[in-house]
Symmetry: C2
């Protein structure tokens, strides 16, 4: 029964679709709506009932990704810690999510609300970079935009290398932090 307290009728189908879409599009971003339905074990009509268009589904996935990322970061970050420590923990929290959401990097999300949320996430990273600069972890003469772009790309690259087996998952966050703050040159690591 559908009620105000339980607005989602049968979550299984919807969840199955979302799961299948993530798994499928991670491997093949061009996978068709029918394929998604097939892998979800659901008729194509049912898929359209839950997500009217392909863009709808994509947007929902992006929203989920943003929420999950926000939660992971919020849970990982300790406001009282140093900015560089927060950076490290952010990498630790976010890189494992690449497994599920990396395909969104390439996807084109039209929905304005969603892209705005994404921009806001980047803005928050910008704030962290500001703290890093204030703290001395990042040089003041480097454009903040550059640092933010690097962080974004490091997350993507890190996941990518982990996924292809070239870098151990456990090392990824450390490598990312090290790359950003100290570079890959030979020097004593703190």
């Amino acid at each position: 029964m559908r009620s105000a307290l339980n607005p989602s009728p049968r979550p299984t189908a919807r969840d199955a679709i979302i799961g299948a879409a993530i798994r499928l599009w991670s491997r093949n971003p061009g996978a068709t709506f029918s394929e998604v339905a097939l892998h979800a074990g659901v008729g194509r009509a049912t898929l359209h009932r839950h997500f009217r268009t392909r863009d709808d589904l994509l947007t929902v996935l992006a929203e989920i990704c943003i929420e999950e990322t926000n939660e992971a970061v919020a849970a990982a970050i300790d406001q009282s810690a140093s900015a560089s420590r927060q950076l490290q923990r952010m990498f630790e929290a976010v890189i494992p999510l690449g497994d599920r959401y990396s395909f969104l990097y390439r996807a084109e999300i039209g929905d304005e609300h969603t892209t705005a949320r994404y921009r806001r996430q980047l803005d928050r990273v910008g704030t962290l970079v500001g703290e890093l600069k204030a703290e001395g972890g990042v040089a003041a003469d480097v454009p903040t935009a550059w640092v933010v772009a690097q962080i974004d790309q490091l997350i993507w690259t890190a996941w990518n290398e982990v996924a292809s087996g070239r870098v151990a998952a456990a090392d990824a966050a450390n490598l990312a932090t090290r790359t950003l703050l100290h570079g890959l040159g030979k020097e004593e690591q703190p």
Copy 2:
């Protein structure tokens, strides 16, 4: 007249197509074949005469990109220079090309010959990384694959930031080298 010495009959159409495709797909990677023809000032039929399928054109563009990149790097690199100097010059040579070929990062090239050439390019970067390690510019404990991935991404990110106006073109190569070798931390720059 077509002869053995002058195998390309009327280069204008072909060149116009290539130019239009690069310009168009740089802004909109999903642009249609008809749009390419339109922007090239050429009938769609003519486009098909020069490049039978969409993939054909894409592959040719990728080949051109690889060749141009190779040439630019070859011209810029001085084998007798230090590896880190070569890295810097490679950045200087390649980042400006992003303007024209960045869309290929996202394109899916099916042609094996072309992807093999691309892999070979990355291998050459791997060799450079090896020299960097031997020279002490890059720490030996960092996976070479990670460094190569970083270099690849730095090129893309650098062009991206330049294109969006957030970073000055003149600074990009320096920033990239600095990011890779020394990180963005506050420390004396050599």
